[in-house]
């Protein structure tokens, strides 16, 4: 991943209070968002091909115009491409909304851009039910993106159920990181 983009993303996320906000009043029962290092891990799992367009170069936040600042902020939000869910639910968490809106706007502005939503479940429960649950999560994200401006033709969904965990292991933390939808831009 482009280091300057990543660094900038972190700086902006920190400015926006997203990182601090996550660590102070998370509703999740696990440590997935608890530290900057975990956020880095999430960025990695989101895939290195993900950040799209509008790289404004190493302009520092102070010298940006309002418009540039907004664009950089949106680009920074779009660095996040993995979204997490509670056990046996497909509800999009409140903290994911701004990021998904940013992705939806980007898709609306780039009609030729396509994205694949990969839905996953943790290892608990049955494999076939989890396959359906992973799909339901991917479709929940799909609906959210469409409502916010993306078009149906840009989005493909696939479920891997519990078959492709991001993190191995049978801990609350591993499970929390495995209940996810990943956006993969093609």
């Amino acid at each position: 991943m482009n280091l300057s983009v990543q660094t900038k993303a972190f700086a902006l996320l920190a400015t926006l209070g997203l990182i601090a906000g996550c660590s102070s009043n998370q509703t999740m029962d696990d440590g997935a968002y608890d530290s900057a290092s975990d956020v880095a891990a999430i960025d990695q799992s989101g895939g290195s091909t993900v950040y799209g367009g509008s790289d404004d170069g190493g302009v520092s936040a102070e010298t940006l115009t309002e418009e540039e600042r907004m664009a950089a902020e949106q680009a920074a939000l779009r660095e996040i491409t993995t979204f997490y869910f509670d056990f046996d639910t497909s509800e999009i968490k409140p903290e994911a909304r701004d990021v998904l809106v940013a992705h939806a706007r980007y898709l609306a502005e780039h009609p030729n851009q396509r994205v694949r939503l990969e839905g996953h479940a943790d290892e608990r429960g049955t494999k076939e039910y989890n396959l359906a649950l992973g799909e339901r999560r991917a479709k929940a994200v799909q609906r959210f993106l469409i409502v916010n401006g993306a078009s149906r033709g840009q989005i493909e969904t696939v479920s891997y159920g519990e078959e492709k965990p991001a993190v191995m292991g049978s801990t609350e933390s591993a499970w929390a990181q495995n209940r996810r939808v990943e956006l993969v831009f093609e």
Binding site: D88, G125, T126, K127, E128, L131, A132, E135
Partner: protein, 437 residues
């Protein structure tokens, strides 16, 4: 023996498959057998080492395999041969008083004789208390097939004593996952019920799920991700011929055969939501059996072949439902906890088995369909994929042992247990094959 594949899908897909799939047959990665628990009420039986006429190949003796089969069932407690006072091979040498002294209820004696490449077993089963022969038969097999002969004898002995057909000659299908080098290899395998004679039927870099036996035991349906998404295949075991039967947009999953083998129940989401369909295999014609905003999946026919059990989260979490006949209003079966899924009825219509969450653990439970009573059968923590033996007496499921997934077999009432770990990696998704005449 080699298996070939006839790919019936487009060339582009075939090219991808060629890159990620190998169809191979050599025996490898056998499951190991580990008896973990015997049932208290097991019946004492002596399987006397069989006399032998002519040279037999090295390896496990037929009587040893019979003894192991009976032990595995959990219903028998075979006497170790070193404790026997004599080793008779025919009726006139059986002294019932000796066997009574040893506390034995049944004695099996026999003799193997080889003519060219055929081996004939003549065997007799005696009731010690009644001093009566209750079984006397002979059976033959090729000299390379002594395991088949042994499992056949086990079936006959089991049936003569319990009145229920034995299931020792049946097959298991399962999926092993080998994570060496961080690159998983999924292998669909078929073995004897004791884990022996395993053969790889499909190998893939992508997940293989939900193997399901055709009623005649000649084919498996399963879900394979080899094209990057879940697709249902039917795989003929004798020829290796594979047919892609369901490749619709969205999910193609949870195959289960109709009792006549002519149709599959499938979970498809091509119309937007996971619903259960019946597909006629000859024509591909689909009939939608459920229509609900909830997830409906994991369908299976009941013992009559008229109704279906399935998992639905229409009540908020996954629960087992029963549709008495197609079109009837589904009736909820499970109420004991907030997560009950993947029903598997036994052949009698008395019980349905499923995965049951209690606190943070997942167990296998069963519900008596007549009384509604629920019994939790397993004590391990992460149990899934229950499959009932075709005679309804045993249950196999996948569970965790340390980091690895292993298969465990228990008697259907939760008694005796043995486990079948893979020699390396995970083994999961067991499916117990039918009794084939």
């Amino acid at each position: 023996m080699t298996y070939r594949t006839w790919m019936t899908f487009p060339r582009a897909a075939a090219a991808i498959l060629a890159a990620c799939l190998v169809l191979v047959a050599p025996a490898r990665a056998e499951l190991l057998i580990r008896i973990t628990e015997g049932a208290d009420a097991a019946i004492p039986i002596s399987v006397v080492p069989f006399a032998e006429q002519g040279a037999l190949p090295p390896g496990d003796k037929v009587s040893r395999i019979v003894r192991d089969d009976l032990t595995m069932s959990g219903e028998f407690r075979p006497l170790p041969p070193e404790k026997m006072l004599s080793l008779p091979s025919r009726r006139e040498d059986v002294f019932f008083r000796d066997w009574r002294l040893l506390g034995q209820r049944y004695v099996l004696v026999g003799e193997l004789s080889r003519q060219a490449d055929r081996v004939t077993a003549r065997y007799e089963l005696f009731d010690v208390n009644q001093e009566k022969r209750i079984l006397g038969e002979s059976a033959a097999a090729s000299v390379n097939n002594l395991r088949t002969l042994a499992h056949h004898i086990s079936d006959k002995v089991y049936e003569a004593i319990t009145g229920v057909p034995g299931a020792f000659s049946t097959k298991l299908a399962y999926v092993t996952v080998d994570n060496a080098n961080g690159k998983p290899r999924y292998r669909l395998q078929v073995s004897d019920v004791d884990g022996k004679r395993a053969r790889i039927r499909l190998e893939s870099r992508e997940p293989i799920l939900s193997p399901a036996w055709s009623p005649d035991g000649k084919a498996l349906a399963y879900v394979s991700f080899e094209t990057g998404k879940p697709v249902v295949f039917v795989h003929e075991l004798a020829t290796g011929k594979r047919t892609k039967v369901a490749d619709f947009p969205g999910l193609n999953s949870a195959p289960a055969w109709s009792p006549d083998g002519k149709a599959l129940l499938l979970t498809l989401s091509k119309d937007g939501n996971a619903e259960i369909y019946r597909m006629e295999l000859a024509s591909g014609a689909l009939k939608k059996l459920t229509n609900h905003w909830a997830i409906d999946t994991e369908a299976t026919y009941d013992a009559t072949g008229e109704g279906i059990f399935f998992t639905s989260d229409r009540s908020g979490g996954p629960q087992i439902y029963y549709m008495e006949r197609i079109g009837a209003e589904p009736r909820r079966i499970t109420f004991g906890s907030r997560y009950n899924a993947r029903p598997r009825p036994d052949g009698t219509g008395d019980y349905v088995y499923y995965v049951h969450q209690r606190d943070s653990a997942f167990h296998i439970a069963r519900t008596n369909l007549k009384t509604g009573d629920e019994t939790i059968l397993t004590r391990t923590q992460s149990d899934e994929s229950p499959s009932v033996s075709p005679n309804g007496r045993m249950l196999i499921y996948a569970t965790k042992q340390g980091e690895n997934s292993v298969l465990t077999v228990i008697s259907a009432d939760g008694g005796a247990a043995y486990s079948l770990p893979a020699s390396e990696g995970d083994v999961r998704e067991p499916a117990w094959g039918p009794i084939v005449q």
